[in-house]
């Protein structure tokens, strides 16, 4: 009898033409879609040209997104974007996004229906694991791997072991979101606990979870070292994908007899969960927000591929309505895509945030990686809705980054210190 497979194993098997695959096996897979950005694509293009490739494998299946150092922050970043733009023009790359239509890469691709359930997606950016929220196998690689994919449409992969995180219960705290659920998993397994593994999120709390929160969760699989994060598609997925996905999609699910090693299964009761904060200098250094102590902040960043989506802006606006950002705090807000920006504008969120004193940027990765638009000085403290807080991530090596959900970010911007909305009497 055939052994049951996990959702990840099924997707990989389908893409390497095998009836089944097992963890540890090396497979060569067909890639449905690949992506690069202004940091990684120029190196990939250089590599693509150096192997003598003349045409990309499929101009409809490559996305190139200027997202990191844009609008061009200096001459060198302008040159990088130019390399990408000219190569895209030369090869008539269908999904090259110019500034104005581009946004944060991992928010943009799902929104534009370019990736969907059952896909195998390869991206030259570590947060490519985001698309697992749709039920795709999706993982980050470097530029040379991307070059190989752009040239051949294929990639070698080692089939990962699957870890299963079963979220039991429904959080009673209204301010708990996908960010807190994934921080809990990262805390549980540690910063390298999921290395080479697929993190499958499941259980009652996940089946009720909106797509924005699912994207947040899978986005941070890499912060536990995960190769991928994945959530089996369901009615929430169907609702998100219907009329949006540009290619036919397939729903996969793990078999009841799929093989998870005992040490790879985690039961997490989240009924009593409160908002969490990852403290410097690691995403696994996690504590409930009420236990981080008195931490004054210089900057709050709301945005990124982790939490720069419409629901994140809605939460922040609901908290900042009629309130002001604390004196001495810089509140940087960056809607992750132009569509999100426009929807937030029409819904009045942008006006609320602006009136509260936020600095609003136009759909790029912003200060998340310390490149521009909100870089930290020595000794400064930032509370961010992004995904990483390693030393120097957002600027000077002696700056500090705390990570949290959008509600805690907004409440803290008002208070000038890290605090939960509940603590200052804000209710949804």
């Amino acid at each position: 009898m055939r052994m049951g497979m996990t959702i990840t194993e099924k997707i990989l098997a389908a893409h390497c033409g095998a009836a089944s695959v097992r963890p540890g096996q090396f497979v060569e897979c067909a890639v449905d879609f690949c992506m690069g950005n202004d940091v990684t694509a120029p190196l990939a293009i250089k590599a693509f040209e150096s192997v003598g490739a003349t045409e990309p494998f499929d101009r409809e299946r490559i996305a190139l997104v200027p997202s990191h150092f844009v609008p061009n922050k200096d001459i060198q970043s302008a040159e990088q974007c130019k390399v990408m733009r000219e190569w895209a023009q030369k090869h008539r790359i269908r999904w090259y996004f110019e500034r104005g239509e581009a946004g944060v890469d991992h928010a943009l691709l799902p929104e534009q229906g370019l990736v969907g359930p059952g896909d195998l997606v390869i991206g030259a950016d570590s947060h490519t694991c985001t698309y697992g929220a749709l039920g795709a196998f999706s993982t980050g690689v470097g530029s040379t791997d991307l070059a190989a994919v752009m040239a051949t449409g294929r990639i070698w992969l080692r089939v990962p072991e699957s870890m299963k995180f079963v979220y039991r219960g429904v959080p009673a705290d209204p301010w708990v979101g996908g960010k807190d659920l994934v921080l809990l998993a990262i805390k549980r397994v540690g910063f390298d606990g999921a290395t080479y593994k697929a993190m499958e999120f499941t259980g009652g709390a996940i089946s009720r979870l909106p797509m924005d929160d699912r994207l947040t969760m899978c986005n941070m699989a890499i912060e536990a070292g995960g190769k991928s994060g994945i959530i089996a598609p369901d009615s929430v997925t169907e609702e998100y994908c219907r009329g949006r996905c540009r290619r036919p999609y397939v729903f996969y699910a793990s078999d009841p007899d799929a093989n998870y090693r005992e040490e790879n299964v985690f039961e997490l009761d989240v009924s009593g969960l409160t908002p969490l904060v990852a403290m410097p200098h690691s995403p696994d250094n996690v504590a409930p927000v009420d236990e981080v102590g008195d931490v004054r902040i210089d900057q709050v960043f709301l945005g990124s591929c982790t939490n720069g989506r419409l629901s994140d802006l809605r939460i922040a606006a609901s908290i900042l309505k009629g309130r002001r950002v604390a004196k001495g705090v810089r509140f940087v807000v960056i809607p992750a895509t132009p569509a999100i920006f426009l929807e937030a504008l029409r819904a009045g969120y942008i006006e609320i945030l602006k009136e509260a004193g936020a600095d609003i940027g136009d759909s790029h990765c912003g200060p998340c990686l310390g490149g521009h638009y909100g870089v930290l000085a020595a000794g400064e403290v930032c509370l961010a809705t992004s995904n990483r807080n390693f030393p120097g991530r957002m600027g000077h090596r002696d700056s500090k980054v705390y990570l949290c959900n959008p509600a805690v970010a907004a409440a803290s911007a008002v208070a000038g210190k890290i605090i939960s909305p509940a603590k200052i009497g804000i209710r949804p």
């Binding site: 893409h15 940091v39 390693f390």
Partner: protein
């Protein structure tokens, strides 16, 4: 290509050295190897970096190269002249990138824990051993598929071979997503 023995002085870093420490994001505006080499490990502990020499063997704890997928990280290490990296463990994307660009990396928890800054280290590739003082530590052998990439001289050579053998860039097989 890598010779059969790598020798060098060790410089030791801790756990969780992420790519922001190997090459801070503010230098990612360039793909120029010399420029990247100039800033190699600039974001790491300044006390360690102060004693590091360009030809030192980098030794680290768990999860070396975690964080962003930037290939600039192994590129900067290789371009700076560090002959190899020995760590208790490597983050997955860094591992792929290092193999793909031909930076030798060795996973050996025992060796990584034992080695101290300043130690003379010898890596015997054929014997699968790391020698430090009188001690010998085995390192994890690469699986066959990865050895093939290394033997080809990196992933790009392997791709070059694929393109040549097929005459033209191949179309992907029809996958599961019903295209």
């Amino acid at each position: 290509m890598v010779s059969n023995t790598i020798r060098g002085r060790a410089v030791k870093f801790g756990d969780n050295i992420d790519t922001d420490q190997i090459i801070p994001a503010r230098y990612l505006f360039t793909s120029d190897e010399k420029e990247l080499a100039r800033h190699c490990m600039e974001g790491a502990d300044p006390a360690i970096v102060a004693v590091m020499r360009p030809d030192d063997i980098i030794v680290a704890g768990r999860n070396f190269g975690c964080g962003s997928s930037r290939e600039h990280a192994p590129v900067s290490i290789k371009a700076q002249g560090h002959p190899c990296v020995i760590a208790e463990s490597f983050a997955r994307i860094f591992f792929r990138n290092a193999i793909n660009i031909g930076l030798p990396i060795f996973e050996s928890p025992d060796a990584a824990r034992a080695i101290r800054t300043g130690d003379a280290v010898e890596v015997d590739l054929a014997g699968g051993m790391i020698k430090v003082g009188g001690n010998r530590f085995a390192f994890e052998a690469y699986p066959e598929e990865i050895r093939r990439i290394i033997a080809a001289g990196g992933l790009l050579n392997a791709v070059r071979e694929t393109l040549r053998s097929r005459g033209r860039p191949p179309q992907p097989e029809v996958g599961a997503s019903g295209r």
